[in-house]
Symmetry: C2
Subunit: 114 residues, 2 copies
């Protein structure tokens, strides 16, 4: 498992990117998808996920549709137009972040920045 400190700041971006890739999803589905994609390395707790979803809905980034499945409520979330542009920006930022981290953990010895 990866320490929660490391993962913390990236949860919102992860949720948004999954919604972009998969269209509408419900909360429980999102947690399982994250585990699947990261081979169990990243786990989204419900205490983190649902507040994130509610906040993004309040901000107009997501919209919900509640449906009934097997007598259980499912709240499906999907991106608004605003959400689409928010995702694009967040993903761009994350790619820059990944690149920066790679420059740290895999420094190129030949490349002298002096």
């Amino acid at each position: 498992m990866i320490s929660t400190d490391l993962i913390k700041g990236s949860l919102k971006t992860i949720v948004l990117k999954l919604l972009k890739e998969n269209g509408r999803m419900y909360g429980y589905e999102i947690t399982r998808k994250v585990e699947e994609l990261t081979a169990g390395q990243i786990k989204l707790t419900y205490g983190a996920l649902y507040p994130i979803l509610h906040k993004l809905e309040n901000e107009g980034v997501l919209v919900t549709e509640s449906e009934n499945y097997n007598n259980r409520i499912r709240v499906y979330y999907s991106l608004t137009d605003k959400g689409e542009s928010v995702v694009a920006e967040k993903v761009r930022e994350m790619k820059e972040f990944i690149e920066s981290l790679q420059n740290i953990v895999n420094p190129q010895p030949g490349l002298n920045h002096a």
Copy 2:
């Protein structure tokens, strides 16, 4: 610039990895090296850096040597034996983290995990 939320949890690992690569360094030097390696994307503020260094010293991960240069105090930090193994573990974790993030932002459509 990358949002501070994203960067937050990785600062300690970044500091430790730089010390591993460069041997002993002083605080101010570390902040500049991070900016250089990340093309200005990641900035280590002093309010973050010095508490991190002090804490790592208290934990026996780092040791200090204070020297005088141009009438300014420089506190050089370097890894202890314990520090070396801490870095190894932290870097391993960060590589897993990067890999997980890449699986999110660059999903492989052909690869079906169902």
